[in-house]
């Protein structure tokens, strides 16, 4: 836990995620070392107390700033990518 939330990096292609570190980049490194590709990795935060509500997932990470993928902010601007992230999270987080 990082305060009241957990940092997570999701691989939307492989449908897996790395959970809980001080920085998203540490999770990104772990994923890259295990065969993920940068372009598929997105950083989010999960707020356990809001499980089951729209506030459960927060799209905010330095690793998301990728203008060459049309993402110029720390958020996730493409709705389709957000949907894929939600699918992975819903598949892997059953309850908290």
């Amino acid at each position: 836990m990082f305060g009241n939330f957990v940092k997570v990096v999701v691989d939307i292609k492989k449908g897996i995620m790395a959970v809980d570190a001080d920085m998203h980049v540490d999770l990104e490194k772990l994923m890259l070392e295990n065969g993920s590709e940068q372009k598929d990795l997105w950083g989010i935060n999960l707020y356990p107390e809001f499980f089951g509500t729209e506030n459960f997932i927060e799209y905010d990470s330095m690793i998301n700033i990728r203008p060459w993928q049309n993402n110029r902010s720390r958020g996730v601007e493409d709705e389709n990518i957000r949907k894929k992230i939600v699918e992975v999270v819903e598949k892997l987080v059953k309850n908290v």
């Binding site: 980049v25 940068q38 330095m62 700033i65 990728r66 203008p67 060459w68 993928q69 720390r74």
Partner: protein, 143 residues
């Protein structure tokens, strides 16, 4: 993917560079981003910052840098924090520039050493050719 440095990626040129040259080039863009930020031109600063991130992305992709992922990923976090975040790591223009300067120096030293090596190799080849020619002349004279 919509890369600004598309040619650099497709030609493979970026991956031919050693890590010092790669980080020195990233440092150039970071330096530009800092200069424009100091001059109050946020747009130009953002564009240079984005170019630095793109080069860092290529560097992380580079298979020969696998053992440096920790450093490279952390660098991405620090740059993002300074240019687009709350600067929680208390970075400054001065300490960011200081981080990159040694890579410039190392890249120059290596390229100078490589130049010196190729000059020495050319000199050796030239001298060997002279000896061969001299031998041929002395062979001729002896006949």
């Amino acid at each position: 993917m919509n890369f600004q440095h598309k040619n650099l990626l497709e030609s493979g040129r970026w991956f031919e560079m050693n890590i010092f040259e790669q980080l020195a080039n990233i440092g150039v863009e970071v330096g530009r981003a800092i200069n424009w930020k100091n001059k109050g031109n946020q747009e130009y600063s953002r564009l240079a910052f984005e170019r630095s991130l793109e080069l860092l992305y290529f560097t992380i992709e580079d298979k020969k840098n696998r053992d440096k992922l920790g450093e490279l990923c952390r660098l991405k976090e620090v740059l993002g924090d300074y240019f687009m975040g709350e600067n929680q790591y208390k970075s400054s223009a001065e300490n960011l520039n200081k981080y990159f300067y040694p890579f410039n120096y190392a890249a120059r030293v290596i390229s100078n050493n490589e130049l010196l090596k190729s000059v020495k190799s050319a000199q050796k080849e030239y001298q060997e050719n002279l000896v061969i020619k001299a031998n041929s002349i002395s062979d001729l004279l002896e006949r």
